[in-house]
Amino acid sequence: MANGNTVAENFYHQSTNKHKGILSWLLTVDHKRIGLMYLISVLTFFVVGIIIGLLMRLELIAPGKQLMEAQTYNSLFTLHGVIMIFLFIIPGLPAVFGNFFLPIQIGARDVAFPRLNLLSWYVYVVGAILALVSLFLPGGPIDTGWTFYVPYSVRSTTNVSLAIFAAFILGFSSILTGINFVTTTHRLRAPGMSFFKMPLFVWATYATAWIQIIATPVVGITILLVMIERAFGVGIFDPALGGDPILFQHLFWIYSHPAVYIMILPAMGVVSEIIPTFSRRTIFGYRAIAMSSLAIAFVGYLVWAHHMFTSGMSDTARWIFSLLTFIVALPSGVKVFNWVATMYKGSIDPKPPFLWVMNFIFLFSIGGLTGLVLGSLATDIHVHDTYFVVAHFHYVMFGGTGTIFFAALHYWFPKMFGRMYNDKLARIAVALYFIGFNMLYFPKFILGYMGMPRRYYDYLPQFEPLQRISTVGSWILAGTIFLIIGYLFHALVKGKKATSNPWGGVTLEWHIPSPPPLENFKEIPTVTHEPYDFSQLKEMKNE
């Protein structure tokens, strides 16, 4: 593919099966090829999600009807949420970059269960196809919001059952990937690679994998119960049938809050890779960062009901969940402080991946700090279910994980494809992304505090100026993302050849050729260094 004109020994030319062309990819068990298959699928759905977002912003450019009816708008915000969460952000970092780099970073030839790995990609594709099919069947696209709250989701005449069944299937893809990564991390580390010599991306992906395994079944069961309720009229959640709608919210968030950490933890792991490489010094507080991932994974289970402060829960439940929510903020803070401290007395070369990380630290800090407003009871009661929440989770999910998706793409692009992209364009993209992002989402904090509820097709005239700024921001941000996809595609074909270690990284992926050969290592390395020991750079030149 990328190195088509040379006879390089890399995984693009070496197949794990006897087939040629597309079949050699569709039947591959190579973790790198599967990672790339995920990259293509995930990017496709990301673009679909962006286009839906643009349409929504266009509708909201002024009060009243602009280009669609309320029903269409309600389906669009549901689809935007479902696509971005289940098809882009949850699989984005672990399934793409985790698949490609976790085995390499621990010195393994592949994941522990290569066939299961391929199966989880197929399960993802089946789930995605079911979600797409549900859009076009009679009944129309789902209009419940991505949270599927009962009783509305039991009563809606749209294709709710098929759409949530798609989410059920996608959950299995996530569980299978989680099982694979936990086993791989435990069983396939190279000699000498003790747990505390693992790169922090591995730590983060490992912590994430546990959440995927333990939390995902809860949402699976909940979805099945909603389907049973819709099909057979069994009263589980719908109060009209004798069920309890608050029970649904509890079960939904017992998964979906930990899922937030499934989305952000791998991103945090990528940050812990990029900062040392471009500062050319060891990470500050390795153990603190590794342990904070586990702390987040653990405490993250105990905060779900902060999504329900206005649901009418008991006051005791409210203050306990408020307190726990503030506690879970601490390990994230520890990470940010350690990252900034890693730049201290480094030798910093702010190349594009590093600039993406700086972008991340600013945007994610805003996302995290506004989370404190939502953790506090009095303020949450006011801004709950308003644009403030919309702004907050876009800063965390998109400003956090989305930004790091681009950071990871820019950091590992030379390794994955063996080509370099245009440095100047990449720097311009970072700046435009920063402007577009803040223009699109920052006004929503103010709108929320002013009292603009979320999931509104129409709005009061006093919200118009800020809504308009937000819509213009969406054009800048989307334009920037298309620019990035454009120059990366260009680099695939016309980019300069990448060396095996263009940035001067020291984790194991930088010891092998770009792109890597099938099974990664000619000989399984013996690990003697700490993960971010840059004194190796001299020896590596001779490798």
Partner: protein, 211 residues
């Protein structure tokens, strides 16, 4: 007459300012330090990087100080929240019924309206329930909201201290016309409210001050 619609508004706005104030200091501190390091330790300057593996006391400090800060945020948020939860027994009670896509207000004397009328400086207790799906009763100007759920009574409490008309929005997604599920709460002078309340019709009160 008070400068804010309810005393609770002041306390919520204070908690908001407290949290946002600390957050802005932290955000600017982190960002400025990061940018300073990028310039100061730029590779172009040719420093030898120094490997510093960590510092126990620094880790302790940046766990301990944020812990104190977030606990204080929790405390202020909780005490302000208590103000709307201790509902006086003698509060003026109104039943709120939500359905797709309107609110109905039922008063104890049998009156029934689409807009909520309440007397100034009187504690008001809303007992809310839904006829169908989940809704939420949100008065942005009062900084309060609570979900309205079928087969369940949720309570909301406020004590208006300023005359006027305030928007009420549905804040829990409830289908097609969710964004049009607006009504209002009108705070009337005590005497005018009593005059209206005494008449056994559902007529809208004829009050000049209320716009």
């Amino acid at each position: 007459m008070s400068s804010t619609p309810t005393a609770h508004v002041e306390s919520v706005d204070f908690v908001m300012l407290y949290i946002v104030g600390i957050s802005v200091v932290l955000l600017l501190g982190i960002t400025a330090t990061m940018i300073y390091f990028v310039f100061k330790y730029n590779r172009k300057k040719g420093h030898q990087p120094v490997d510093i593996h960590g510092n126990f006391w620094l880790e302790l400090i940046w766990i301990a100080i944020p812990t104190v800060l977030v606990l204080s945020m929790f405390y202020f948020g909780y005490t302000s929240f208590r103000e709307i939860r201790d509902i006086p027994a003698n509060a003026f009670k109104v039943k709120v019924e939500a359905m797709m896509w309107k609110f109905t207000f039922k008063y104890e004397n049998g009156k029934q309206t689409d807009t909520l009328y309440v007397p100034i400086n009187t504690p008001v207790h809303l007992e809310m329930t839904s006829m169908d799906v989940n809704h939420a009763f949100f008065i942005p100007a009062f900084r309060i909201k609570e979900d309205v759920i079928h087969n369940k009574v949720n309570n909301l409490y406020f004590k208006p201290e300023k005359l006027g008309k305030y928007d009420v929005a549905c804040a829990e997604y409830c289908g097609l016309k969710h964004s049009m599920m607006y009504t209002a709460v009108k705070v009337l002078p005590k005497q005018e409210f009593d005059n209206w309340y005494a008449v056994k019709t559902n007529a809208v009160p004829n009050v000049s001050e209320v716009k």
